[in-house]
Subunit: 363 residues, 2 copies
């Protein structure tokens, strides 16, 4: 349907997409930071580990303003590949989709309006005390989700948090979902061993075994998660009672899904995952393998392909860098659905290239 | 039309109301604090001056949760009359209207989600340096307004800031609108002399004469305004380009209107004032007399009448206390319009009494 791949649960995915057709979504982008991102070799979301505090605010500035304010240029990987926020922004602008920024916990606030939920930045999960205030932040996010569901036809929720696949792995293992070797990476060489070692240290510090917190999702986040997760899960829990919610992202969404499934599985009929083709074809990770252990919801993937792009920094997406983030896949899907397919993957690439040229230059 | 008084510019007011009929609004409540509220005798929005820092966060907690969290009970005047937020909450709940809280600058954050615009609490206007960061906060509010206008059919914007009629008087005089003796009060004895003296001190400290900042609205707010004003004005400036905006409040809205009129009068075709009958019949103030000096937009007033209420604390509204606030009048109008009149003033009073009984008790 349109340029969207029905990557898992085809029939339910098609039915879900039909419900979005021509409708007006709101895109909520949940941002947060965790010190876990600064462990050497964990994240490529920021040129240097110290810069990862700036990546989430810079990403949402890009969405709202078509340029960043808290950094010059746009967030890039160490190799100079630009943030997937460039894809998200291009899709949202083409389809005129409104954006709400939601903070789960930040060190640097974005220079744009954002919804404050009282959250704090996350700590290094190796200490086993990663996130404060989880219940309160999730509760506030739920209130926000309930209110947003009264104004938008549906929600698309995306995220930006460097180091997020590692903290997601932590939550998944604590909850008994075997995601070892299955979470994705923004780097072409997925550092699975480093992620597993980091998580195992955190589990040990928390005195938690694999599956030990299957019935205590809030504690799993507190011990070994990140501040994006309770904010994202709360929004979905508040909204999906009333309207469809497209959870936009890669394997990190698995952790959010595990939380929601533990707290209120009834709403999952109203929920699907929206991601990119690069996540689906990623041989170093296994989104389906995570999801099917939790709840068998549909996976939709924007059929983006940058192999013919004239820009090296975009072509590089085909070599397995970045892949997803800032809700890029979900935003692309929402743009296609809102425009009833008149926004194609080709139109999207054209707009992405236009923005790339403007913001990154003709490298 | 319905239980709504066309209080000024009847034809335009009727046409404006028709555009709201059956539509889905979003209610944005802009909150802020100013030290000006702590000048003895200025405000009744809080039992003691020191409590005025808690009134705005408590008001918005009431809107979202049907109860307060940062204080016990609900905000009351020194005589124990409850906040008009009780009216707002009852109207929004009856009509299932979503709420977004927006902070212009606070000392105490609400224990609910709120949109942060980077604003700071306001200082005592007698020093002539009342508000920091005015341009930035207004710009961020404009970004928010633009995005909200893509998801809601129209906006209702209300406010809660103790001391706000005094700071409004300051901005109005600095901009050359003679509002002396015309601004309203939450107290039955309107302390006009005290307000004028306070403002004159601030004008002197700012080295500004009457009308001296007619062409510099941002400076008028910086010198002698409050942090609610740039946030409120920015939301309207961002949204009214696309959708109708009902500016909900009493004479304080005059200051907001003066700012908007100075920055972008073209959008005023899309703007009306929504207030209460108590403001219209207030003999100690003159909303129309302020508005007509600025821009002749329609004034709509919810025809609320508590004279037959079984609760003394509500009956007291008929003696000239409180009158308006937290967008009470605009919320009542929006509830009537959304329900195409099936929410009447009687239905509203019944719901307000139910909530009064629950939250204040049968005093």
């Amino acid at each position: 349907m349109y340029d969207i791949i029905l990557a898992h649960n085809e029939n339910e995915g098609r039915a879900f997409l039909r419900r979005l057709n021509g409708k007006n979504p709101l895109f909520a982008c949940v941002i947060g930071v965790t010190e876990t991102a600064k462990i050497s070799g964990i994240s490529a979301a920021g040129k240097y580990p110290e810069l990862t505090d700036y990546t989430p605010p810079a990403d949402v500035e890009l969405l709202l303003l078509e340029k960043c304010r808290c950094i010059s240029g746009v967030p890039v990987t160490p190799e100079g590949i630009p943030t997937p926020g460039l894809i998200t922004m291009s899709a949202l602008r083409l389809a005129n989709i409104p954006v709400l920024v939601v903070s789960g916990g930040l060190k640097v606030n974005p220079h744009v309006p954002f919804l404050d939920l009282g959250g704090k930045p996350g700590r290094d999960i190796r200490k086993g005390k990663a996130v404060d205030n989880v219940e309160e932040v999730m509760w506030r996010a739920r209130i926000a989700g309930e209110n947003l569901s009264k104004t938008a036809d549906y929600l698309v929720v995306g995220e930006s948090i460097p180091g997020g696949t590692t903290t997601a792995l932590g939550v998944l293992l604590a909850m008994g979902i075997d995601a070892r070797g299955k979470v994705s990476s923004s780097m072409p060489e997925n550092p699975h061993e480093l992620k597993i070692k980091t998580v195992e240290e955190g589990l040990k510090a928390s005195k938690v075994e694999f599956g030990g917190l299957a019935d205590d999702p809030l504690k799993a986040i507190s011990c070994i998660g990140d501040p994006m997760i309770p904010a994202f899960a709360g929004l979905v829990l508040g909204a999906a009672d009333k309207v469809p919610v497209l959870m936009a992202g890669g394997t990190q969404i698995g952790a959010v899904l595990a939380i929601i499934n533990a707290l209120n599985p009834n709403i999952l009929d109203n929920v699907a995952i929206g991601t990119t083709r690069w996540i689906i074809i990623d041989k170093t990770a296994d989104l389906k393998g995570i999801i099917t252990q939790i709840a068998d919801i549909p996976i939709l993937a924007a059929d983006l392909n940058f192999s013919q792009s004239k820009f090296e920094g975009l072509k590089a997406y085909e070599t397995g860098v970045v892949k997803e983030g800032v809700g890029a896949g979900g935003a692309a899907i929402a743009a296609m659905a809102k425009s009833k397919g008149s926004i194609t993957k080709d139109a999207l690439l054209k707009e992405i290239e236009r923005n790339y040229d403007r913001l990154v230059g003709s490298k």
